[in-house]
Symmetry: C2
Subunit: 582 residues, 2 copies
């Protein structure tokens, strides 16, 4: 076999199997060493190929696609620092359990550690932050080696998907010349086992019936139970968790990323204003639980984490089908490694039906009262970060994706974006909560789903400006609500604010950019609003638009801080009053 | 001791020692976990502190400062993906031997791998791409632990500097609350050993006198010797290498990054057009060496690497004071691990003086002839990438720094930017030759040295657009010559160009951006020139300007390819003619 025949057959086998394994989208960054794989991907009729020059944005873009589609998504880049640019998105994927297949091209062995250009040590380049790493064999067209290429590919996709989902990394040494023969007949027709090479069937973690019965019996002993549902993106879970709540008569403390706050399902048990009323001492006292059933990652609300931590005496079951250790408060009493839906169904089946308790009523009443009390955020005449989310909940069209950035937006969303009959999928990068890659992740979601609304502050927007290129090149439909308070708003809420001398330099970090320029460079529309009426008309106008649009909402960091504090104070006083009357 | 007293004393000791160890510049990215170190750095009167929101650009910015100043430069960021954004610059620093001190803040041990926010496994986060990693102890104010903090700091700086220089990584676990007491008296006055805690004196690698004599004797046996000087940034080496050439009567094949092409030193032996004449078969035949003395990293010229590879029978000494393995052609016959200047001086001392050979004359004559022949690039009427460098060599002011991007600019510089009496420091990121971080590296150089001229293509410019923020925030003086051929120009020169179907999609990758918008966002001036006369006037106008200015030179990729091919063809024919006459 010639060098080119070896290269062609081996890479075609790999790329063909990628499609068989369910990969539909690949994100390629330009480079020379990755040529064989890039050309083969471009030649495959069933792959959607996106090109992204900046590998950091490329990887976050793929992360967004994989998050939104629950399909493994592949990224490909050349050797050298290109591959290092993938690192932030890989770490986020690993932590937030998103299936990514990372393919890096490399120099062949004889060109490593000898000062050859663009050659670095790519073996275990991402350390412990990928689920699986394989250094691939050099291309060879023999039955054994084609079988190997296809098997590794199938394993990579299955490993990326298997709970907990995450990134895998395959490193490909390619020798020059790098051009495969794309004119070869039946390039992607596997000669042997035409469908897939080997099927990989991954079971879910499940406890024994006896164990579920024992747990159910145990749970039934508690009167003051709550279900805490943190970030977990599994639409199949919704109904089972609600059935469990009905059976046990427990409230569900629903993080905005639990996907429980919006949709047509029964919301009688869904508590969505706890972030506010758990700041109130009397509220926390009135609601002390003796049992906590916890699903998903840790919720965003600091008030809730504090509440969990101060109720360390309560029995706490942590249910995790991905067998992690999601317990920063060190408050868990039992770790249950089993599929979450399985758990809900089993306990709903084996537990006895509970009656509606005074305790549940207290959660629901306090939630209703707080929601009413919070409405006063709408009275704020000036542009306000909190009110924005209330407005958004009202105006966002059904079936949209709402992507929120970290720092303040996700927190304000938690406080002000409540239950809704609309089906709004809420997404965020809550693995590591970074300010990096947010635009690209949202655009990736837009590439595989409907229109995306992204709410983002100015520093996070700045960090991934390069990500906007995908919106231009692929005409993606994204509507960005850019909260511009010229700096890091969240720091005003932290003790650092007490250091007036260095605060603006190190934490406030105003960058003073007029983003209209850069949005125009990417052929987007830009509207800077000055009041709520201009916001509303800009928002309505943008609903029908395709492509990239940015509405900038200028706010002030210090006013935002005092607004939040005043509001929480007011509401807290009302809550205290309400609890006394009760 | 209280928590705050422990934190304050320990971090003050560390930061104080950082200054004692010679660190003058720190680049901090905003974040919460890094608060103790960030505040302490801001409080130190002898540190220049730069804030950069995007950690990827921040690290390259620090790389540029360290490269230009030869001083270890520190970077600081918060925990999580922030730290992963440093990876590309760290890998470049490791490969190009630049001293960086990477400081990452981390959660304390009890908050690791338990689902706490922004917590990742930061132990050995950069794998094998740093010279040294230490997980720091939690802060403690005891004589032992202050001594420990100071000693580790001194070791970090010394390790970063010691040949081969490179990055080191210290990971700091910080427990809340994070505020140190900046009002403490005599914050940075070390009570014990006030100057430095321990002096670290690093010797250079040096061979024995007998070995140098033996080598000198061996070298004297060869008639056709050449000195190849690749990228090496050591102004102390210049004179010794020229003395060696004089003694041995060898030509010096000087890469543009050898720093030998410009300055007031004797240039009789400096060959600077080999990239052109070594493309000519007869030229290569006429110049076959029997001995090669090689210094520095591998030169950029592919013609030269090919020449070295085809002369694998020649004896090749590779001299490397950093004890690496810089031999991608696998052509070395002796690896000499000793300080380069030491080597030059010793051999100049022990070797017998050679007479000017016909062989040396042939190199010099061919070099002179080629340079004359290349002048015809100036006849190109249209804007041309090659001619740009000839023009630049003519117009660039003395004492400037010229930073060139990878891909085409460094290659065109190699071909068209010849010896000059002006003192022009030429810089590039030639460790891994990435297209990432180039703007930031150049701006880092501008922050510690005079005005910087940066020549960069559009994809490389795009990749690090965020880097421009530093130019705005710190009013840095940078003049960017932006060659805009809307895509990856270098690929047209590669075999990939033969794949017309997918070429533009995967390799040409036009992004179609009007960069004027983004330059204005960063308060820079932008001039798009349409011909050489407008280029010249824009260039002259910018010389006096401070701050950020961008001159865009629009070119076409296909015309650029044919221009280069025609020119090399013409010159090659003339060279063949010249060699026949000779």
């Amino acid at each position: 076999m010639s060098h080119q025949e070896n290269l062609t057959a081996y890479i075609a086998a790999f790329v063909g199997e990628l499609v068989t394994a369910g990969v539909k989208d690949v994100v390629v960054s330009p480079g020379s060493r990755s040529t064989p794989m890039a050309l083969m991907m471009a030649a495959h009729p069933e792959l959607r190929l996106y090109v992204h020059v900046d590998e950091r944005s490329a990887a976050f873009f793929a992360l967004g696609m994989a998050k939104a589609s629950h399909r493994p998504t592949a990224i490909l880049c050349t050797s050298g620092t290109a591959a290092a640019n993938y690192y932030p998105a890989i770490i986020e994927a690993n932590s937030s359990r998103v299936p990514l297949i990372v393919l890096t091209a490399d120099r062949p062995h004889e060109l490593r550690d000898v000062g050859a250009p663009q050659a670095i040590d790519q073996i275990h380049l991402y350390g412990r932050h990928v689920k699986w790493f394989m250094e691939m064999a050099t291309p060879e067209d023999s039955p054994d080696m084609l079988r190997y290429a296809r098997t590794v590919c199938a394993r990579a996709a299955a490993t990326a998907l298997r709970a907990p989902a995450g990134p895998v990394h395959l490193n490909f040494p390619f020798r020059e010349p790098l051009l495969p023969d794309l004119l070869k007949q039946n390039l992607f027709e596997h000669e042997e086992r035409t469908d897939k090479y080997v099927g990989i069937h991954s079971g879910d973690l499940t406890l024994s019936t006896e164990k579920y019965q024992e747990i159910s019996k145990h749970i039934n002993q508690f009167e003051k139970g709550i279900i805490v549902c943190g970030p977990i993106d599994n639409s199949e879970l919704t109904e089972s968790i609600i059935q469990l709540a009905q059976k046990l008569q427990f409230p569900i403390i629903a993080d905005p990323l639990s996907q429980l706050r919006s949709g047509k399902h029964n919301k009688d048990y869904i508590i969505d204003t706890y972030d506010t009323f758990l700041r109130n001492d009397e509220g926390r006292q009135a609601l002390k639980p003796d049992l906590i059933l916890r699903f998903g990652a840790m919720p965003v609300s600091k008030a809730l984490s504090g509440f969990i931590k101060e109720n360390i005496a309560a029995v706490q079951y942590v249910i995790d089908g991905g067998a992690g250790w999601r317990d920063p408060s060190a408050a868990a009493s039992e770790m249950l490694y089993c599929n979450e839906r399985d758990f809900c169904r089993s306990v709903a089946k084996y537990a006895s039906s509970a009656k509606r308790s005074r305790y549940l009523k207290r959660w629901v009443d306090l939630n209703d009262f707080t929601k009413m009390s919070l409405r006063k955020v709408n009275d704020i005449a000036e542009l306000s970060e909190g009110k924005l989310f209330w407005q958004l909940a009202e105006f966002i069209p059904d079936q949209s994706v709402l992507f929120v950035a970290n720092s303040m937006p996700i927190r304000d969303l938690d406080t002000f974006f409540h239950n809704s009959e609309k089906s709004i999928r809420i997404m965020a990068n809550r693995g590591i909560n970074g300010i990096d890659g947010v635009i690209s992740t949202a655009l990736g979601a837009a590439a595989v789903s409907g229109p995306v609304y992204l709410v983002v502050g100015d520093l996070t927007f700045f960090h991934d400006l390069n990500g906007l290129l995908a919106a231009k090149l692929y005409s993606l439909n994204i509507k960005i609500l850019l909260i511009n308070n010229d700096g890091g708003g969240i720091f005003s809420f932290l003790p650092q604010a007490a250091e007036p001398e260095h605060f603006e330099l190190l934490f406030g970090t105003p960058i003073g950019l007029d983003f209209e320029h850069v949005v125009r460079m990417y052929h987007g529309t830009f509207t800077r609003v000055s009041d709520w009426s201009s916001f509303n008309s800009a928002f309505q106008r943008n609903i029908e638009d395709d492509g990239l649009s940015v509405i900038e909402i200028p706010t002030a960091r210090d006013r935002n801080l005092s607004e939040h504090r005043e509001l929480w104070n007011d509401v807290s006083q009302e809550i205290s009053g309400f609890l006394k009357e009760e």
